[in-house]
């Protein structure tokens, strides 16, 4: 289910930048790995955070112009999707937060 979220974002990134399919997916996979996340399990909230904080820097380092604006647009498109579209994803941190009743 969450792999769909990864594919969704990767496809958008490919459309919005000069990066080809391999480059856009590779960039996202590297960013996710460096952020302690996995394409299989990343949630909508987590993706939005790295799109606003980490991905712009990575895109700039690959020569993509207006990286921040592109990432802001991507966040908007993720948030415009129905709330239950990727709800099958389990957030480990959220589970371990909840277990202590916090």
């Amino acid at each position: 289910m969450s792999d769909d979220l990864f594919n969704f974002v990767a496809d958008l990134l490919e459309q919005c930048t000069p990066l080809d399919r391999l480059e856009s997916r590779g960039t996202l996979r590297l960013v996710l790995k460096d952020s302690g996340l996995e394409p299989r399990t990343v949630t909508r909230r987590q993706f939005c955070v790295i799109l606003s904080s980490v991905v712009p820097r990575e895109l700039e380092s690959r020569g993509v112009a207006e990286a921040q604006a592109i990432c802001t647009a991507l966040i908007g498109k993720i948030q415009a999707e129905p709330a239950d579209r990727w709800e099958g994803t389990r957030d480990v941190d959220e589970i371990f937060d909840r277990l202590a009743g916090t």
Binding site: S35, Q46, V49, R90, V92, D93, L99, G101, T102
Partner: protein, 247 residues
């Protein structure tokens, strides 16, 4: 088990029963499966420990074998629920996880059932091949839980730097990994105890005390995961100063 050395197990049984009830209540409030799985894990652990303790507390030797066997049987679901929790939380979409659950279930059922068929009701006989099925069946799930949680703990440190994970949650993953590791050590201690028992027909006082102490360590770790006192939360949260991940 020696006089007094079972105190750790008695405390653990009571603690796990209380924890199970609390998690069951939380599961009914949230409707979430991980809480339910953990509640079941600790419920069957508590029941099993209690059954092992009955003949010791009432001091009737004739009850030793039937209650030991009942304790073994009632423990079978516990490692299976541990494996289900690990799959649900850490590796939900993985064939390996499903295989681990089936393997754990098969090992435990064959181990306990097989040893009963050949007359080893207490399951202390290391020389009995079925012993090893059971031992692996209750050791591997906790080792797996520990490894998955430790891997997640390492990832969570990176998430914490981005503000995606709170420091206390990172710490909770480390505590759960430590609980899994301690359970594996308990299994190794039990293995040595059973080997001694087969040779000397008595448990080693040192190992018996050690297994009791490890139960208390397990309780402490689990207590910090599920009932973290305010001072501990503050200690963990303040430990790294005001980093990006402190919420």
């Amino acid at each position: 088990m020696l006089d007094g050395a079972w105190i750790g197990q008695l405390i653990a049984a009571i603690f796990y029963l209380i924890l199970s009830a609390r998690l069951a209540r939380r599961a009914s409030q949230t409707g979430e499966r991980p809480e339910r799985l953990l509640s079941n894990l600790f419920f069957f652990t508590a029941i099993s420990y209690a059954l092992y303790l009955v003949p010791l507390i009432v001091a009737i030797e004739a009850l030793w074998t039937p209650f030991n066997f009942a304790g073994r049987v009632s423990y079978i679901p516990a490692p299976i629920f541990a494996a289900l929790f690990t799959r649900d939380v850490f590796r939900r979409q993985s064939r390996f996880s499903t295989g681990m659950i089936y393997a754990t279930s098969a090992l435990l059922v064959v181990g306990v059932g097989g040893s009963a068929v050949v007359g080893d009701w207490e399951g202390f006989s290391v020389g009995n091949p079925f012993f090893w099925f059971e031992w692996v069946g209750y050791t591997i799930p906790f080792g797996w839980a520990g490894l998955e949680a430790f891997s997640q703990y390492r990832s969570s440190l990176r998430r914490q730097r981005l503000g995606l994970c709170e420091r206390i949650v990172c710490n909770r993953l480390l505590l759960w990994a430590s609980f899994g590791a301690v359970q594996v050590v308990v299994s190794l201690v039990l293995l040595r105890m059973y080997a001694d028992f087969e040779t000397n027909h008595a448990f080693s006082a040192l190992l018996d005390g050690l297994s009791g102490a490890l139960e208390l360590v397990s309780i402490a770790l689990i207590g910090l995961v599920f009932f973290p006192p305010r001072f501990y939360r503050k200690l963990v949260t303040d430990a790294g100063g005001s980093g990006a991940g402190d919420n």
